[in-house]
Assembly symmetry: D2
Homo-oligomer: 279 residues x 4
């Protein structure tokens, strides 16, 4: 399915600064960037796209103070499919790909070490991992209220399970923390999201089930197959849209995700499906 | 310089468990494992040494309850040198190796995002990074009291800067968090430490200065060139000695680090040196 | 019902210290101290029993280092009755005794401000206060595991609702915080407890319902009518057994609560009762 | 010195609510309310001024949804004097008025228990309490940045000592917590403040020195003798300007404090004075 995505940002730079932006769509086995353009005006010289893991970061070294306009747009083709989990089985940590072991650790916003009893009291009786992740996703959806401005960049999963309000970032952090507390590797996902209203970057999470990273979204705001992946990471600390080093602030932002194809059939998370999309 | 290191652990396994141990010495450009032996009694089958990044993890899948004795020993040769920082210069984030960018992020125990003002008020006037890291290492040494049992596995750098007591792990976390708050990549280091009394695993931290990971130890308990590296990570969450999944507990532990060479001349961190050891 | 209570403590005093002990039984409209004796050996001069609110504190000014033995014993008669809440009604804050308003505020260990959504999601649909408090007491009993050593003096209700383990102090803090979040005044209660095994000081909480302070105990470890009240306060910060100022540590402690009467019929909290004991 | 103070608030009441406002000036041995008027439009019936401790609270029971305008004004005469602390002596906890003992305890926003080492490392070598409180007030002033919007209602003294930014409320909380950590009773003070720009309610703190509550203001924004006391409490939890129970929100607020007298000579906190104003 093809999507056209774009980001426009304006930064007020007051002193020489380095910006590391994570707004480029990824190339993965399920997603291909067919074309893309990006620019900063005024121009600051050759562009440096760096990669950490699979993420593509746009590093900008801005020496002169001023107002800078950043534009990114891409045409992306991605591929989602549903997976049949009717024979969902217990995960074996002894056979887990070592590369995903770090996604079992507690991180800045996902203190799974402190959520052990909480997760096991609620979901410990469920014996297979796909059912656990769908159950915890439902719990978040039912108990945490989506409320703009109700959390801050300091809010962590440990806060949100009790404060029970937040934005997509917080919903993702709780999902990740609960998965890891149940010994299921999980990571943060940021992307463009078709039909998100108002348009914005979106965050959800992936759980590692039977050798694949599977997408879950506890906000249930958008179709799971309408997302264009930008980055993954341990949590929002590793997959931030922008890291700014220097006296610079964001003064405007707009993002868009439009369908550039036909025949889109939304896959919405539901209790009844025995499979789920991945990206 | 050659060191003989060893670990003996006893685990009480009450139900089928997976243990992931990080007790093997690393092979790096500065450290070579000349020989090593490791065993679990009773034997649980073929041994699985997995690697994540550069770390070597010993993954044990224990199916039968019982008491298990774990033994590791190695002869390791490592190489330390001092670096001349008399021409210490400001770091440029725009030129930083992308692979070290994750070490600028806040992590479970090192919330550099919350320590920004604290770090800048204390060390912001120091203009070059080596001097900043030595200054913050000294500040930790002077203000945080080394006191066994004064912290827990939940204690973070944010706690320790105010509670001002802890163990080597906490000293390392504060060092890492302060470095990152000053835009200096930093990571956790665990190892065997010669002359540590009583013998134990040790933790300190590495800062990424001018293209190299340099070792710092705010506890100042041991010579910097007497350490044998086991692992590095974002913080203790990623470089734990043991991660246990299942109903298993540690019932005994002993570790040793002996000199197997001649001519050891301790390098102790001091204000006057213009260079420092790295491993 | 008459109870004989006693406390024996030993303190190691290393420098001149002030101790403020809260081990004396209270005189209230429902409890009478029939006789009591208390002593410190070696003697430190005239004894100073001070009162704050209704609490009786034993303030000891110890000038000489040494080992001190403290003894308290009392014969106490108290009176418990059950209250019929079959016509439980909504509380009106507009008519609340102003003296209990402080027990609606968040305190050190009972951050009701952060538990608002949590309390309302779980208990907001229950319309009357007695039913709310019995429901939240049951929730704590079912979800929090009583585990010695699983919490510290820093653990708060906000921690315990997620960590879901603790001791009587933590159970009380969660009860208080949830009550206040539901606009029900609540306070901490410490006392001697008949049939507590092993013998120890006990902590539970009181909710202010229809003009009376009613006792609740989420640990459900002892009969509600077997307690001898020592003190009440906002939380454990205000009703600590001992506050020590100076270089002094507790080296031994024993406490006892024995029946000195006949015909004791235990009142255990249960879902079916329509009334509850108060003290 | 006479001051004319006033408050105007507008509340949007969406469902029956109880408001407890703390905007009335206090009558104390140093402050007299010469005249006052207060009203709510539309009128909600007889006004209920309740007292808790020395505080005067305006409790409003609003049954009908709507927009309500609240007005308070008063003419207040208060009396400030400087105290000579040239013979500052150590405080004796053994002689402390029992009524002030609660002000040594940790509270919601002032976790003195967690600031013990921090306070003693910085101020433990100062031997007398007035010098300690002036030193810690200076430390706060020099290290914490006054920045509107940089803290929230959840921010505590433990946060602020590291985050090093906040508003008057946060400055007061740090002052209180540090005093208590040094065994000096301290409490929160809210009031109207002459020459505060922009006009607003102000918060500072009182320390109990040699039998008197003495005023300190780490923000150093206004003259100490230009304040009109509204309330004191353990911290902002007990001395909030407004506690709202029900679905009601503040939509406008204005406050004023004008001199209604002649000959005002500002007393600003300074290192050189050997005495300080109290109210």
């Amino acid at each position: 399915m093809k999507f056209k995505v774009s980001t426009d940002m304006e930064y007020e730079v007051r002193s020489a600064s380095t910006l590391i932006l994570s707004i480029h769509a990824l190339n993965t086995s399920h997603q291909t960037v067919l074309s893309e353009q990006f620019s900063i005006i005024p121009n600051t010289g050759p562009t440096d796209i760096v990669t950490t893991g699979e993420n593509r970061l746009w590093r900008l070294d801005i020496k002169e103070p001023g107002t800078y306009k950043i534009h990114y747009e891409a045409l992306v083709d991605n591929f989602a499919r549903t997976v049949d989990y009717s024979d969902d089985k217990e995960l074996s940590l002894a056979e887990l790909d070592p590369a995903v072991l770090p996604y079992l650790n507690p991180s800045r916003y996902c203190q799974c070490d402190k959520l052990h009893n909480f997760a096991h009291n609620l979901f410990g009786d469920i014996k297979t991992p796909f059912k656990q992740v769908t159950a915890l996703t439902d719990w978040i959806h039912q108990n945490v209220k989506y409320l703009s401005g109700s959390s801050s960049t300091e809010t962590s999963a440990f806060d949100t399970v009790t404060e029970q309000q937040g934005v997509c970032r917080d919903f993702a952090h709780v999902g990740i923390a609960l998965c890891r507390a149940l010994n299921i590797p999980a990571r943060y996902f940021t992307g463009y999201a078709y039909q998100l209203n108002p348009p914005d970057f979106h965050a959800c999470f992936e759980a590692y089930l039977h050798g694949e990273w599977i997408l879950f979204d506890a906000t249930k705001l958008v179709p799971l197959n309408g997302m264009v992946k930008i980055a993954t990471g341990l949590d929002a600390a590793e997959a931030a849209i922008a890291n700014i080093f220097g006296d610079t602030s964001l003064t405007a932002i707009a993002t868009a995700c439009e369908l550039a194809d036909e025949g889109f059939e939304p896959i919405i998370y539901s209790d009844s499906i025995t499979g789920i999309v991945y990206l």
